[in-house]
C-alpha cells in the first residue's frame, strides 16, 4: 500500500486518476470493515444461533410429520384393516393383533377380503369397467384436447392469454355443479331430447342420461382442462422453426405433424393422459350422477361398500386393490413430473 504512486494522478492509457478522491472511499472502506469485524464476534444472538442450528430441522420436520401422520399412516391403517374381518360394532372390524391368554401376541391376517374380491364377479367387472371407462375417456379427451392445445399454442399472444383463461376458468368453478349441469341437458325431458322432439327428428326421448354416453361426456367434460394444459405447455415451448424446417426439407404438413410435432409433444400427451386417466379410474361423483344405477365403477363400489354396507374391511381391500392397479400409471406420472422438474431446474 505504501509507496504506490504518491505522485500526481496521471494514469495509464489516458485514464486520469485522482489520488486524493480515490483514497477517501477506500479509507472509509477500511473503517467500515473494521466495524464489521467487531460485529462478527458478538453480533449473533442466542436466538439466531438456535435458528441456524435447528431452522433447517423445523422446516423439514413440520411438513414431514404432517404427511407421515395424515398421509402415510392412514394407508398403513387401510392396509391393516383390509386384513381384518367384518363385525358388527364400533369399530366395525376385528383387531389384527390380540393379546390372548398367557401373554402371547396373536396376529390374525384375514385374506378373506381379497379372496372375496376375486370371487365375486361384481368387483372384477367393476375394476375392468373402470379401466375401460378411464381409458376411453382419456382417448376422447386427447382427441378433443390436442387440437385445442395446438390452436391455443399457435394463436397470437393476446388471444393465447384469453384462450388459456377460458380453459382454466371452469376449473375454478364447482366441479359438482358442472356435472349437475349435464343432468338438465341429457335427461329425458332435458334440452337435447326436447330440441330433437320439437324438430321432429325423434318421437320419444332418447335415453341419454344414465348411460355410458352420459358417463363419458361427464368425465371428458370434467377433465378436459387437465388434458389441454400440459399439452399446451409442451406445444407452446416447441420451436415453430422445426416444422418450417421439416416443410423446407419437403415434408407435407400432415407428415410433419406426425414425424415432428407429435413425437416432441409426447411428454405433454403422457402428462395430460395421466392427469385424466388416474382420477377417472377412481371417480365416484360422475358415475353416480350421470352413469346411473347400472354403472359399475370401482370408486362407486368402494363408496357403497363403505356407506351402504358399512363393511370397512372390504372397502379397505377394494382401496388397496385399486391402488395396486394405479401404481403403474402413478409411477409413470411421477417419473414425468420429476423429469419436468429437472428440466426446469436446468434452464
Amino acid at each position: 500500500m505504501s509507496g504506490a504512486g504518491e505522485g500526481p494522478g496521471h494514469g495509464l492509457g489516458g485514464r486520469p486518476t485522482t489520488g486524493a478522491r480515490t483514497r477517501s472511499i477506500a479509507e472509509a472502506a477500511w473503517a467500515a470493515a473494521g466495524r464489521d469485524g467487531e460485529r462478527n464476534g458478538h453480533g449473533r444472538t442466542r436466538l439466531q444461533w438456535l435458528m441456524a442450528r435447528f431452522g433447517r430441522g423445523t422446516v423439514i420436520g413440520i411438513p414431514y410429520i404432517w404427511l407421515l401422520l395424515f398421509f402415510l399412516l392412514p394407508f398403513l391403517i387401510v392396509l391393516k384393516i383390509s386384513f381384518a374381518e367384518f363385525r358388527i360394532g364400533l369399530p366395525p372390524y376385528t383387531p389384527l393383533l390380540e393379546w390372548i391368554e398367557g401373554g402371547y401376541l396373536q396376529i390374525k391376517l384375514a385374506f378373506g377380503n381379497f379372496l372375496f374380491l376375486l370371487d365375486d364377479p361384481l368387483y372384477v367387472v367393476a375394476y375392468l369397467n373402470s379401466l375401460k371407462v378411464a381409458l376411453v375417456s382419456t382417448l376422447i379427451a386427447l382427441l378433443i384436447g390436442y387440437p385445442m392445445a395446438y390452436a391455443i399454442a399457435r394463436a397470437s399472444p393476446t388471444w393465447r392469454a384469453v384462450y388459456l383463461l377460458l380453459v382454466i376458468l371452469p376449473f375454478w368453478t364447482s366441479f359438482l355443479i358442472r356435472v349437475y349441469a349435464w343432468i338438465g341437458i341429457l335427461k329425458n325431458n332435458g334440452l337435447i331430447n326436447n330440441a330433437l322432439i320439437s324438430l321432429g327428428l325423434i318421437d320419444s326421448p332418447l335415453p341419454l342420461l344414465n348411460t355410458e354416453v352420459s358417463l363419458y361426456i361427464g368425465i371428458v367434460y370434467s377433465y378436459l382442462p387437465f388434458m389441454v394444459l400440459p399439452l399446451y405447455a409442451t406445444l407452446e415451448k416447441m420451436d415453430i422453426a422445426l416444422i418450417e424446417a421439416a416443410a423446407d426439407l419437403g415434408c407435407r404438413p400432415f407428415k410433419a405433424f406426425l414425424t415432428v410435432t407429435l413425437p416432441l409433444s409426447m411428454p405433454g400427451i403422457v402428462a395430460g393422459s395421466m392427469l385424466v386417466f388416474i382420477p377417472a379410474v377412481g371417480e365416484f361423483v360422475i358415475p353416480d350422477l350421470l352413469g346411473g344405477a347400472g354403472t359399475l365403477m370401482i370408486g362407486k363400489v368402494l363408496w357403497s361398500e363403505f356407506f351402504n354396507n358399512r363393511d370397512w374391511p372390504v372397502a379397505s381391500a377394494v382401496a388397496i386393490a385399486m391402488l395396486i392397479f394405479l401404481v403403474i400409471p402413478i409411477v409413470v406420472f411421477q417419473y414425468y413430473q420429476h423429469k419436468h422438474a429437472e428440466r426446469a431446474e436446468e434452464s
Binding site: Q48, M51, L68, L169, W172, I177, S316, L326
Partner: protein, 289 residues
C-alpha cells in the same frame, strides 16, 4: 400448416362450446320462473330468494367457508415449507419418501384418501381419544393434506424460476439466511402463495368425496348438501347457487388476470422507454474527473 387453421379453430370453438354451454344454460335457467328446466316461464329471481331462505344450505355454506379458509391457510404454510425443502435443501434423509408423499395426493383417487383418513381418525380416537368425534376439524385436516400438495407444486415451480443469486446477493450484503428468506425470498414468492391459497380454497370448497368420509353428523359442507339435493332431482335453487359460484370465480379470475395483464403492460411500456432513453442519450462517463 396451411389448411389446418380452419380445422384447428373449429376444434377450439367446439371445445369451448363443450366447456361453456352447460354453464351458460345453468345461469340462464337460474332466472327461469318455471321449475322445469326446459320450459322458459319468464324472468324471475325467485330461486335466489328461495336459496337465501334455505337454512340448511346457508349453514353448509358457512361450514364450507370456515373449512376452506382454515385449510387453505394451513396448506399454504405447509406447502410452502415443503417446496422450500424440495427446492432449496438438496439432499436430506428421507427425501425420496417425502417426494412420494407430497406428490401422491395429486393423483390419489378421492375415495381412497377419504377412506384412509376416516380410518385414521377412527383409530386415533380409539387409541388416544383424539379427535373426539368427527366434524369441522377432521375435514380441515383432510383438506389441508391434499391441498398442501397443490400448494407445493405451485410454490415449487415459482421457486425454480427464481434467480437464486438474488438470495445470495442479500446474504452477500450482510443478511443472515433467515432474514434473507423473510425479506427477499418470501416477497418474491408472494404471487405463488396467493395463487396457492386461492387454489386450496377452491379445492376445499369444491370437495365432496373426502368431506363425505370424514365429516361428522353436525358438519355438512355445501357440496354435500348440493349432492344430496341433486340426487333427489333437479332443483332450480341449485341453478341459482351455481350462478353465484360461477360469477364469484369468474370475477376473481378476471380481476387477477386483469391485474397481471396491466402490470405486464406497464412493465413493457416502461422498459421500452428506458431502452429508448439509453439508446438516445449517451451516458458516456461524463462523471469521470
Amino acid at each position: 400448416m396451411k389448411r389446418s387453421p380452419v380445422f384447428l379453430y373449429a376444434m377450439l370453438a367446439f371445445g369451448f362450446a363443450f366447456l361453456y354451454v352447460p354453464i351458460l344454460l345453468l345461469i340462464l335457467y337460474s332466472f327461469n320462473e318455471s321449475r322445469l328446466v326446459t320450459v322458459w316461464g319468464g324472468f324471475s329471481l325467485k330461486w335466489y330468494a328461495e336459496l337465501f331462505r334455505n337454512e340448511q344450505m346457508l349453514n353448509a355454506a358457512l361450514v364450507s367457508l370456515r373449512v376452506a379458509v382454515t385449510s387453505a391457510t394451513i396448506a399454504t404454510v405447509l406447502g410452502t415449507l415443503s417446496a422450500l425443502m424440495m427446492g432449496r435443501f438438496g439432499r436430506f434423509r428421507g427425501r425420496l419418501l417425502f417426494t412420494g408423499m407430497i406428490t401422491a395426493p395429486l393423483v390419489m383417487p378421492e375415495v381412497i384418501t377419504g377412506l384412509s383418513l376416516l380410518l385414521l381418525f377412527v383409530s386415533l380416537e380409539t387409541v388416544i381419544g383424539w379427535p373426539a368425534g368427527r366434524g369441522i376439524d377432521t375435514i380441515t385436516i383432510a383438506h389441508t393434506t391434499f391441498c398442501m400438495a397443490y400448494v407445493n407444486v405451485v410454490v415449487q415451480s415459482r421457486l425454480v424460476g427464481l434467480d437464486r443469486s438474488v438470495e445470495e446477493a442479500a446474504m452477500d450484503l450482510g443478511a443472515r439466511p433467515l432474514k434473507a428468506f423473510l425479506v427477499i425470498t418470501l416477497p418474491m414468492l408472494a404471487p405463488a402463495l396467493v395463487s396457492g391459497w386461492l387454489l386450496s380454497f377452491t379445492l376445499s370448497l369444491d370437495d365432496l368425496v373426502i368431506a363425505s368420509f370424514v365429516a361428522g353428523p353436525a358438519s355438512t359442507t355445501l357440496p354435500m348438501v348440493v349432492f344430496s339435493s341433486v340426487r333427489l332431482g333437479v332443483t332450480p335453487e341449485i341453478n341459482a347457487l351455481a350462478t353465484l359460484l360461477v360469477l364469484l370465480a369468474t370475477a376473481t379470475i378476471l380481476i387477477a388476470a386483469g391485474f397481471m395483464w396491466r402490470q405486464e403492460r406497464e412493465r413493457e411500456r416502461v422498459a421500452t422507454k428506458a431502452l429508448k432513453t439509453e439508446r438516445g442519450g449517451s451516458h458516456t462517463s461524463s462523471s469521470r474527473p
